[in-house]
Subunit: 385 residues, 2 copies
Amino acid sequence: MDNFSYKNTTQIHFGKGQISKLKDEIPADARVLITYGGGSIKKNGVFEQVQAALAGIAHFEFGGIEPNPHYETLIKAVDLIKQEKINYILAVGGGSVIDGSKFIAAAALYPSDPWEIIQTYGAKVTSALPLGCVLTLAATGSEMNKGAVITKAETKDKLFFFSDHVQPRFSILDPETTYSLPAKQTGNGVVDSFVHVVEQYVTYPVNAKVQDRFAEGLLLNLLEDGPKALENPTDYDVRANLMWTATLALNGLIATGVPADWATHMIGQEITGLYGLDHGQTLAVVQPAVWLYKKEQKKAKLLQYAERVWGLREGDEDSRVMAAIENTRQFFETMGIPTRLSAYGLDASIIDPVVAKLEEHGHVNLGEHGDITAADVKEILKLAL
Amino acid sequence: MDNFSYKNTTQIHFGKGQISKLKDEIPADARVLITYGGGSIKKNGVFEQVQAALAGIAHFEFGGIEPNPHYETLIKAVDLIKQEKINYILAVGGGSVIDGSKFIAAAALYPSDPWEIIQTYGAKVTSALPLGCVLTLAATGSEMNKGAVITKAETKDKLFFFSDHVQPRFSILDPETTYSLPAKQTGNGVVDSFVHVVEQYVTYPVNAKVQDRFAEGLLLNLLEDGPKALENPTDYDVRANLMWTATLALNGLIATGVPADWATHMIGQEITGLYGLDHGQTLAVVQPAVWLYKKEQKKAKLLQYAERVWGLREGDEDSRVMAAIENTRQFFETMGIPTRLSAYGLDASIIDPVVAKLEEHGHVNLGEHGDITAADVKEILKLAL
């Protein structure tokens, strides 16, 4: 096991009716900006619960945060914050709303051009408004970590930043808020959580048993309950298990003391930035291709994954590895998320632009060994056609 | 899954050489009390590392904190704290030193008789000195939680308290500090961790898949690496896996949203208080007896445990349950910890005194259903003879 430092300060309130805890978490004299996305929270009762819990606390609204939240949209919230002297951000939504709200929270106090926050990966952030979350989608884990991904629409740049200052003070996770999700969002969320786990697990062995077994447990939960959520979207236990699984998939715990890959995310981000595919869709396409390309280097962990997650114990090593990769692909398809670029109307013509964007962003030498070059990304994308 | 709230603010620094991080965690102008136990830290190099890291920071020593730390000992540290204007506690040791230091940290600022802290289970604690830890034994989980167990030697009362104020600010977990442990302490630590997990897992099903699979993962780690630590005490990976497993066994994470038993701990505490058995020894004795007595009520989770932890899939339900209980007992014995009261020279004459102490402490109606009465405890102890 490698050395590590770990701390996670977010207060979680999990379960039915927990939105009422907002009144305990947000100071009575706060001036709150409620941030949200396309407005589904105003149709499914979540917004009403939030308003009821905030009774007596001054609050304002900023809606319209899009998937892969745009810098151009978020920056408008900063004006409202200054105008209304807002001092607390409450994100109500999924990962995009929370990520966007992290940027808003930091940008509101940033002394110079806020795009620097992204350009410096958050290193120059020294303060942020306090942020709380009401999560409505099990997917990104943003509700319990310090990362965010922001897109500059003008230049099609999708980039991340990290800062302790934007770690949510609290997050409320009520599985019932996810009952009304479209199937595609449920599917994308399960794929996103799954790929978060494997990016931190299918690398090379360092004899980190807690981390491996926690990762395997999270993957088994997704395999079992992902399809059930599509079949019966209002099964509380299924939604609860997916929600807590998604949070733990990316709250730093399974990352402790182990190498991480993240090549799939880096490549996928550029595909979303350039061609607008959903985040989960890009992961479903790229992940199996990365594994096919790197199956020799990842063999030890792919075999462990094959055995412990898929129960594959028969046949030679190569056939077990290939079966595990194929099973993974089939699982993503079962979740309604196609795993080939061609299924999204994309072909080999995207390869050069995607690689050019990676190089522009300095995202080269990817993977747990830092040995996936631009030439390798081209080969990986060929395997994803 | 039941509703829950969860937060854990302790900063962990894990791995070789991490004791040097003390200088980053403790303010340069602090006046630090280093608390420790019987003095092994002065023989195995840990104390030297601590002193080196604290160079330039004023520090004092308070040694001699015994296993099952005594109120009578701890209270002496409070005088030293007042006399030397100490404002930071650094516990260097295992669970007893950390538990005792939590009490010291709270007692130092407590405005009336500090025994009230215990009598009120910590409810009246409103402040404490900041506490940091250098852990030297994988066992209790105290390094990342807000609980402590204290014994009043005069009256043989072993009792616990909880307070957010005594949650360690940071804990340094260097597996190398555990290389020199006596085999009995390694064995007790593994048994303690194991029983922490099953007290939160072998109850009744609430469809909490994250918690169940994390619990099962921790148990498998202990089964695999516990015996290896006895065979080769200086295997870094083995010690590292045991250390991180023990911390996660009782940091609140696997307790989220599930029922908890704790009957074994409550009964075991009285046996330690009255007869001086090690904490791990009492657990090894009582746990199998609780399961034998409650095997019908716990059947669903015992069957899950039998299958997922022990691989028991053949035979009828009763035989699988009995095999799982017997395997558990054998595992404790393999760790060098006998599982019968008779092995410690105790007989049925202890039953009435133990039950009387439980009643005196108001610890009746135990277990996840609150249905284990004094009469039931007598039957359980008969099964442990």
